[in-house]
Amino acid sequence: MFACWEKILNMAQKPVSIAPLVIFRVLFGAAMTLSTCRFWTLGWIHEHFIQPKFMFKYFGFGWVEVAPSWVMYLIHAIMILSSLGILFGFFYRFFTILFFILFTYIFLLDATYYLNHYYFVCLMTFILCFLPANAFFAIDIYLNPQKIQKTVPFWCIFIIQFQLAVTYIYAGLVKINYDWLFLALPLKIWLPAQDKIPIIGFIFKYSFVAYLFSWVGMLYDLSIVLWLSLKKTKNVAYLIVILFHILTGILFQIGIFPLVMIFCTTIFLDANLHKKILAIFITTFYFIKLKIEDIKKNVVCRKYFAANNFFFISIGFYIIAQILIPLRFLFYDESIFWTDEGYRFSWRVMLAEKSGSVTFYITDKQKKRTWIVDNRDFLTIHQEKQMAIQPDFILQYAHFLYDSYKKNKNDELEIKVESFLSINGRASKLYIDSTLNLASLEETFSQKNWVLNSKN
């Protein structure tokens, strides 16, 4: 047992080139800068955080509140600044932690904007807080040359690779289901809608293309990390990564994230390649005085960051948690497609076409009146759409309505809902038990028995 642990520790601390980590830092920082600027210029700060009258919360994070609008803009400005700090390795530790905190805050504000990729960025920046990614090719080193490092312990590279592996492999595993593989759903719905794409658009009218894409997508997600890891295949695999993400970027409205994945997967490439690229940069930009040669004589691998047992046990826990969290749907009886229990934080990327319609009825028992709620009085179209397909949001909104319309202490209000859900283009079915008073239900992690059985 201990011998095994020792072995793992030795492997984890084995010095490897810092170059992949440094390039990762630069690319990740650049992607975050781009992403935040894009978010701002598209007017999404206003649309996502200032316009909505009600925001949906993550379980346990109900206390995260939106700030006044000028603060929201300020936060994004600081995020842009921080991401530049990451990119250039300038006050790297400070800016990485700052970016992590601010990005996570933004992420937690409204759960209807949950995206697997936002979660991925949260995790990545969290990891980056612990890594010495600024120990080379960074302004911090220019200012403070004796902190230079040519190598890092292996775990610094591994943990990033691991996170990417979890993301891809789970995204692949969840695609192994009947709809995806044997009915080519939802791609059979999504692809024909893309028939106006230049040059290749015409192929999407053929249903075999949907099958092809479904299977290729599944195999790609499942195995790409393996191909990226094997010495023989990694370069070809990286070209496939680029092709794959460019294609999905064209086909689906997924913004900046194909770029993020193309950037992040460079961590798998051969360290010598990274070194060469760095060398080109360093010789091109003369103001970075540190030549490769200086570094060669200069540096030994320093043990980074009080790498004690406790730290490695923490990493172990992180790894186990990342493996277990996506599996929590196994504890629920119903199909995860239907109930959405266990959907978030599980890398279920673009897996099903879901849409629903939800109408809330408020009954004031004393006044003996039943009212119909117009969701657009409180929600944006996006929020309404997301709420309609996720039961915990329906419940949250029901509680919000209860609180909004309970004017007096003695009012007895009942909130009921008539909701229909359609998955992968099938005829919609009644979703939530319409006889229940949602105001009397509480959100928990246990099975939601108020969500009707999908087979009804």
Partner: protein, 367 residues
């Protein structure tokens, strides 16, 4: 490389097996969205916009001569012109996008058809001779302000006539209202003629594409009939303690039921693809028929449309004021509300899903 070769072979094989075995009668037919957009623009939107503009202009000129010399005969003419202009406008309410949403003080719909009219504010404006309509007091202008000024609840036309004879300010205000209406609808009409090309060319399905704009406003419009034209006067909006019959659309003229009927009819026409002259056009139905699962949905939807039309015909007689009906036979009106509600799911959850239309206004940021 050999590994990849193996993978490739495996891949091709499995896809082959999958598409041969699992597929049951999927159609490879491709729907031509461009022709649907073209047809909707040419056969439904443009002719209805032209008619709405023409009728509003007619109302404007009728009103001008009436205000110059108010007579009983003139008033009847004006009232008829208003009715047909208003019903003509209803046919373009679902197209509140593109040229419809570009106004400085809001979209076309809220500028010309906000209800209920704010009668107190209207009277105040008349006294102050305030005919500047470039503000956000939308409930002091548009069709429903005219509804208040031109019609008497008890059909007492002599009272209305007297009000105009005794107050030239009232006449001036009404004339300005009609002018504002006419220019807004004329503007919509001319702008659509030039927007048409862009509308047809923007033939994708992503957020901001013409099909998603059309779809979004289509659903919003249908919901508006349910929420504002029926549920609101029934007292079904949250917080309402009693029915509020005075909140029906077109309360004073009393053509509320006719308006509801017209609104439901245009929604159905857009969906089915029926031109202004009741000719065949291409609508959502044709689109749905080309996608998997679409046939079942169109059948269900049509069934509900028929039920709704039947219920409206039986329960909302146009001879009776909706406001009175709500007081005397609320159950009848509630039946209509129920049927409107039943239709929501077909338009809102099932249809957008099947068509792969992006129903948010802006694109997403990943998944």
């Amino acid at each position: 490389m050999t590994l990849q070769l193996k993978i490739a072979v495996l891949l091709v094989l499995s896809v082959f097996i999958a598409s041969c075995g699992g597929d049951s009668g999927s159609s490879d037919a491709q729907f031509d969205r461009t022709s649907m957009l073209k047809s909707t623009a040419e056969n439904i939107i443009l002719p209805n916009a032209a008619e709405a503009a023409a009728k509003a202009n007619a109302l404007n000129s009728e009103l001008k001569s009436f205000v110059a010399a108010p007579t009983g005969e003139g008033l009847t003419k004006v009232q008829n012109a208003w009715k047909s202009a208003f019903l003509a406008y209803i046919n373009i309410t679902p197209f509140n996008f593109g040229p419809g949403e570009n106004g400085l003080v809001g979209d076309l719909l809220s500028n010309v058809a906000t209800f209920p009219a704010n009668t107190g504010a209207i009277e105040e404006r008349i006294v102050k001779k305030n005919v500047n309509f470039n503000d956000f007091a939308r409930d002091t202008r548009g069709f429903l302000a005219l509804d208040y000024l031109l019609f008497d609840l008890k059909n007492d036309n002599s009272r209305i006539l007297e009000s105009f004879k005794s107050s030239p300010e009232r006449g001036a205000y009404v004339a300005a209202l009609a002018q504002h209406l006419a220019s807004n609808l004329e503007d919509f009409n001319t702008k659509w003629a030039s927007y048409q090309k862009e509308f047809v060319a923007n033939n994708g399905t992503s957020a901001g594409s013409s099909i998603s704009l059309l779809y979004n406003e289509f659903v919003r419009s249908y919901e508006a009939v349910k929420n504002f034209k029926v549920a609101l006067p029934l007292g079904k909006r949250p917080g309402q303690l009693t029915a509020a019959p005075q909140l029906v659309e077109a309360y004073y003229s009393g053509i509320s039921s006719e308006a509801v009927k017209a609104h439901v009819a245009i929604i159905e026409k857009i969906w089915k693809g029926v031109s202004k002259d009741s000719e065949k056009a291409i609508g959502f139905e044709a689109y749905l028929l080309t996608v998997e699962g679409g046939k079942a949905l169109t059948e269900q939807t049509k069934l509900q449309q028929e039920t709704l039309a039947r219920t409206i015909a039986a329960e909302l007689p146009t001879s009776e004021r909706l406001s009175l009906l709500i007081e005397t036979k609320p159950a009848s009106v509630e039946k209509v509300l129920t049927e409107l509600q039943k239709g929501i799911r077909f338009y809102k959850s099932d249809m957008s899903s099947l068509l792969g239309i992006s129903i948010t206004y802006t694109s997403g940021d990943g998944d």
